[in-house]
């Protein structure tokens, strides 16, 4: 039952999104402009600053993620469909997980474009170890989106939600961003130290577990009027 509700919500979001591709296109374009702004600001005379690529990749993901989160729930608010979703006889945590997977899928799509772009503009060997990079990006994205989905859903009813989402989201998710940046930076070293990567990955998994657990626990009371 739980898995079925998750799947239905995921499919509903996907169907709505495929019709217009509004969020996918705007998020993607925003992420690309973000990276370009960094490239204009930091790449001088064709030389990228050393060790900047990992940070810029994660900043672009965080910024684009905030935008996508805001838009996803704005859509639910405009047509009052969030209320319908919460009225449905389905477990609230399942609604949350469905939304979370949708955001993770969207951000993964954005990352598929961002990684080669950052690798190209900042001359970083990001694609040298695709498996490790994928694992780091996925765990980091889940941690970021777990908090983001909860807060964006909560803020649907609040005033000045557009400003408040990043204000609430960044202080909480900074540990995830730090761990993601450090793990990615370790991956870019000429001599990869597997111990360091494993350490930051373990930390990312810890954050994922804590954040998802807290979010599942509080989603129900937070979304009840």
């Amino acid at each position: 039952m739980f898995a079925r509700v998750v799947w239905l919500i995921l499919r509903k979001d996907f169907t709505v999104e495929v019709r217009s591709l509004e969020i996918a296109y705007t998020t993607l374009f925003f992420a690309i402009s973000c990276v370009l702004v960094f490239a204009f600001a930091l790449v001088q005379e064709g030389r990228a600053p050393e060790g900047g690529a990992a940070g810029i990749l994660w900043i672009a993901i965080a910024f684009a993620g905030t935008l996508a989160l805001g838009r996803t729930f704005e859509r639910e608010r405009q047509s009052e469909t969030l209320r319908a979703l919460l009225l449905a006889p389905a477990a609230r945590p399942a609604v949350y997980v469905g939304k979370l997977l949708g955001i993770v899928a969207l951000l993964t799509a954005a990352e598929i474009v961002l990684v080669p772009l950052v690798a190209l503009l900042f001359q970083a060997p990001l694609l040298g170890r695709p498996f490790w990079l994928a694992v780091i990006l996925l765990t980091g994205t889940v941690g970021f989106a777990a908090v983001g989905t909860l807060f964006a859903a909560m803020l649907v009813r609040a005033r000045s939600r557009d400003v408040l989402l990043p204000v609430l989201l960044y202080p909480i998710t900074v540990p995830v961003i730090i761990a993601g940046v450090r793990a990615t930076a370790a991956l870019l070293q000429p001599e990869v130290d597997a111990g360091i990567i494993r350490f930051w990955l373990a930390l990312l998994v810890c954050f994922d577990v804590v954040f998802v657990t807290l979010a599942l626990w509080t989603f129900e009371p937070l979304m009840t009027d």
Binding site: A158, R159, P171, V174, L214, P221
Partner: protein
């Protein structure tokens, strides 16, 4: 105000007058000298910072699951104290670090985690102030995540190789250093309790005023 408030405030004021004398009479630490005395302010305020974050989180959980408005007022008051004692901690820390480590700030795990905890409290207050109706619950959710940070701040120094002193320092402190420290800690705790009481009372009065306005309209 409860009966104990005025005498407690007087004792607290007296203790704040005595504390500098005790701190001044404490022996000089052999390597850091005079600057080590910041410790007697830094550590108690850091404790109060973490205590306030825990109170804010626990009160928020109880508000979230039981809907008791008193817990919500307590959480709000505690969040303001997180910001207040956080500022004291984050200002005294760099003052000490400049002398002890040669730098004002280091992106060390405990420092980063403390700064994040402080920022979560600021975000909490911004949300309460500008979130509009319904923001009390949202803020409670945020406070819960802020509380999850507290054990991380505390244990971080023991697991990471950082330059911040570990939690082993206090239990092994000789009495000449320990006495002013514990005196200072009790003083800060008393101040903390007094401020919390005043702030909760203010919210209680506001709630009563709102209730009166509502009953007038009816």
């Amino acid at each position: 105000m409860p009966k104990w408030f005025t005498p407690a405030a007087a004792i607290c004021g007296l203790m704040f007058a005595v504390a500098p004398v005790l701190i001044a009479n404490a022996p000089y630490e052999s390597t850091m000298g005079l600057v080590q005395k910041i410790f007697y302010v830094h550590l108690p305020s850091a404790w109060m910072f973490l205590l306030a974050a825990i109170i804010c989180g626990v009160a928020s959980v109880r508000f979230l699951f039981r809907g008791d408005p008193r817990q919500d007022r307590l959480a709000w008051a505690a969040a303001e104290l997180v910001v207040l004692f956080g500022v004291v901690t984050l200002v005294t820390g760099p003052l000490w670090a400049r002398k002890a480590w040669g730098v004002w700030w280091q992106w060390d795990v405990r420092l980063t985690a403390s700064l994040m905890g402080w920022m979560v409290a600021v975000a909490y207050l911004l949300l309460r102030r500008y979130g509009g109706p319904g923001s009390d619950k949202l803020a409670a959710g945020l406070a819960l995540f802020g509380m999850a940070n507290v054990p991380f701040v505390y244990i971080s120094v023991n697991y990471w190789r950082t330059i911040h002193p570990t939690t082993n320092v206090v239990p092994t402190l000789p009495a000449s250093f320990g006495l002013p420290l514990w005196f200072s800690a009790v003083t800060f705790l008393l101040l903390f309790v007094l401020l919390l009481r005043v702030r909760v009372r203010l919210e209680e009065q506001r709630a009563r005023l709102d209730a009166l306005y509502l009953s007038m309209d009816a």
